[in-house]
């Protein structure tokens, strides 16, 4: 079973995603900010992390940096999921080492299929 970590501070969005991925037989973990996310990631070693950028305390960029520095998480894919949709934002995200950058609002169906694609 693939493990996915969803990191977002908007509970309503998380709820929808959790439901959708569980339905596709993912093992779903949830974090409400970057700090939580890093703890869970180190603990569970997810296959993919869905990462929001604008979060309280530790933001998405900082989280990504720490994940990239962790040797245990070298196979973990990271996908940014953000409302920031300017070309500059996207380029910055990819440059920092994200495997994909998806913008809000998104289609859940398409998101799930893209994650699947990424993992195969």
């Amino acid at each position: 079973m693939k493990k996915i970590l969803i990191v977002d501070d908007e509970p309503n969005i998380v709820m929808s995603l959790e439901y959708a991925f569980k339905k596709k037989s993912f093992e779903v973990y949830i974090a409400r900010d970057g700090g939580e996310a890093i703890q869970i990631a180190e603990d569970k070693i997810p296959d993919v992390i869905l990462l929001d950028i604008m979060m309280p305390n530790v933001d998405g960029y900082e989280t990504l940096k720490q994940i990239k520095n962790n040797i245990n998480l070298r196979d973990t894919k990271v996908v940014f999921l953000s409302a920031k949709n300017k070309v500059a934002d996207i380029e910055k995200g990819l440059q920092m080492g994200a495997d994909k950058y998806l913008t809000k609002p998104f289609s859940v169906k398409k998101l799930v299929s893209e994650i699947n694609e990424l993992l195969n």
Binding site: D9, E10, N12, I13, M15, S16, L17, Y19, A20, K23, I53, M54, M55, P56, N57, D59, G60, A83, K84, K104, P105, F106, S107, V108, K109
Partner: protein, 894 residues
Amino acid sequence: MNNYLLISIIIVYLALLFLIAFWAEKNSKSKWVNNPYVYVLSLAVYCSAWTYYGSVGIASQSGISFLTIYLGPVISLPLWILVMRKIIRISKQHKISSIADFISLRYGNNRFLGALVTLICVFAIVPYISLQLKAISETFEIITDETSYVSTSILDDSTFYIAVLLAVFVAFFGTQATDASQRRKGIMTTVAVESVLKLAFFLIAGIYVTFFLFDGTTDIYQQASQIDNFKQITSFNGLESGFNWMFTIMLSFFAIFLLPRQFHVAVVENDRERYLKKAIWVFPLYLLLFNIFVIFIAWGGNLSFDQNVNQDYYTLLLPLQNNNIVLAMIVFLGGFSAVISMVVVSTLALSTMVSNNLIIPYGFLDKFIKGNPEKNANNIKNIRRISIFTLIIIAYFFYVNFSYELSLFSIGLISFVVIAQLAPSFFIGLFWNRGSAKAAKIGMIVGVLTVVYTLILPFIMNVLTGSNSFVDQGVFGISLLKPYEFLGIDFLSPEAHAFFWSMFLNTFSFLTVSLLSKGNYRERNYAEMFVHNSNYTNLQDGAFVWKGEAYVSDIRNMLNRFLGEERTERALNLFYLKYGISKEEEMADAKLINFSEKLLTGSIGSASARILIGSVAKEEPVSLLEVLKILEESKETIAINKVLQEKSEELTKLTEQLKSANVELLEQDRLKDEFLDTVAHELKTPITSIKAASEVLVEGDDMPIELRTKFLDNIVMDSDRLARLIHNILDLEKLSTGKEILEIQSNQIDETIGKAILGISQIASNKKIKIVHQNGNEIFANYDEDRMLQVLTNLLSNALKFSEPETGTIKIMAIKKKKGIEVVVEDNGKGIPKEDVNYVFDKFYQSKHQNIKKPTGSGLGLAISKKIIESHKGKIWVDKKFNKGARFLFTIPK
């Protein structure tokens, strides 16, 4: 000392001076040459051999009265900022190169007046120069072995050779440029160096006499006070002596302005006006230093020698008597420096006057009109060189034949009295525009004749007849006509007496004639320009009154002859550019005439320049009315220029304002972009949430009913949030643009607070948070109640949001203040982080500054509250010192 050794030392010394002058000419841009100190030190050319030797002589005979000669200049110096600056400005504008030029130009460029001034100056200064030569000769004799050296003929007299060498020096460095108004850096630097040397050497001599020959100042004083006439020579002798003092001070006061050499160093050689500021304190200091030891050397001399020696040379004799040859040599060189600088500058100034105001205008103009530029330039220079040699030679012969009898002091004073005859027309003419040429001429002539009668004639009669009967009995034995006691004034010294009478008659004639006869238009024109100099500074060429006919080509030809084609072309191009006149213009206007006159003035003097230009221009007389009209117009032009200047400054200011407005607009534009960006972002979050939930619902046929309800609830919640956000954004927009019209009425603030509390009481009781409303007095205030409710609700719900359940307490109260009301809302929650305090009222602050989202709310509440309070002309802020939670305050004025 050996004759030849001394001559060799003198030659080496002179060679050094030549070298300095040469170096300074070559490095005329160097800061060693161009600084205020060179200017101030060159002013010290005032201290000639008279100061160096003569002061001691006079001090030993008549005590402290030698000081009067220095008190005049010291008193005059504070006036320099006013008077000298005016003189310098006028001289610069008109390219004036001597005092004769200055006076003749002031009185309508009068040729005769220029010549008269020149003659008076020559008459006064040549004997003075000869006295300087006498000082060289006598000190030379003293320092060499007197018995071995007796001058038998000119060719045997070393003074003659020294005089010739000085003439060569002046001729070489003084006539480098044809334009006499140009500065001679070489000569001025040498003079400055000599001023340092003579002062230093004199101080050395003074210290030597006071502290080595005697045991300090007290010792000399005590010994000197034993001499019989001590009291008489160290105190004033009543009112009469006071008058003598006053007149001598006045005399030296005039001299510092009028002596040709002083006018030359102070005005012609002035590089920058600001040097005057330095001069007014450094120059008096210099004079003070020079005079410190005079009285001690004099007493020392009186104590050491009997009456047979010449007291003038105590400074030299004292070291010699004590066999200190080196020191005597130093003293000699100091005196030599004083002589050289005086002779050099005086000759330079006089020769310029003689050539520009006497020889050229009265004899050489025709020749110049026919000559070519190089030839003319050479001729002008040669005339000056010949004048230099002639002056020095005349001075030399005067010294050989006449001046054995007189002391440095008396000839110096006579020359001052003669020069003082220029004072009325010079000073009064500077400040009173009625003074006319005729008056100036008559005044000067009357003055000089008076001096001749009361001072010079007795001297000549004495030499010719060998008796004093003229002085004792007067003309035809009439005692009222006694030259030293004219009209019975018998208590003044001959010089003071002559000064008093000549000045009185001179000034009287000048004023009377000026009042009786008006000058012609030319005089009025220049008088106006000199007296109200500051009015015409910018428009000198325009303020010139001239009417007539002249062809540009004629004037150009005339200029060519003196300046050469290249310089003429350059000058005219500048002129055309300045006044925007077409080069094709055939007829010359007043401006060009004036401009050309000024160009020529430097080379040949103002009077000659006027005659030359007059020879190619057909001038018509201008009536007094026209003169005044033209001058008035040029004043108006200045006024118009001023208005234009102001307009231009205004425009510059406007441009600046536009620029900063543009910057502000750009900044606002950027802020607007940022705002829209943030709005878009804030809107996306609930939309994303709604969209995701909807999709999940569509796909989730097998979803349990509770979950389905939850998703639907979420959708409703997010839609509400979206609606609220949009409402707030529009609200803020309305408040920011001032479209919102407030319904301001008198309300009781505590009632409104009550309503606000009621609105949130449900949430508060859910969180179990206490709200304390301190209510008591009836406080009325004017505000829009709906908007006030919005603010209060916002502040209260923020407080609720950040307060802990169960323990949280919110306090709210209104306070009556002098100028209105103040409302305080505070909670005991975690407070506002320090770094956020300054930003809480910004729109979407949290999302902008920390990459974090607010727990709930739009992020616009406080921004809207701030706008509402501001539109009530109130203020809202956070109490930064409050540390038990958050405390918000706002005021509303009455």
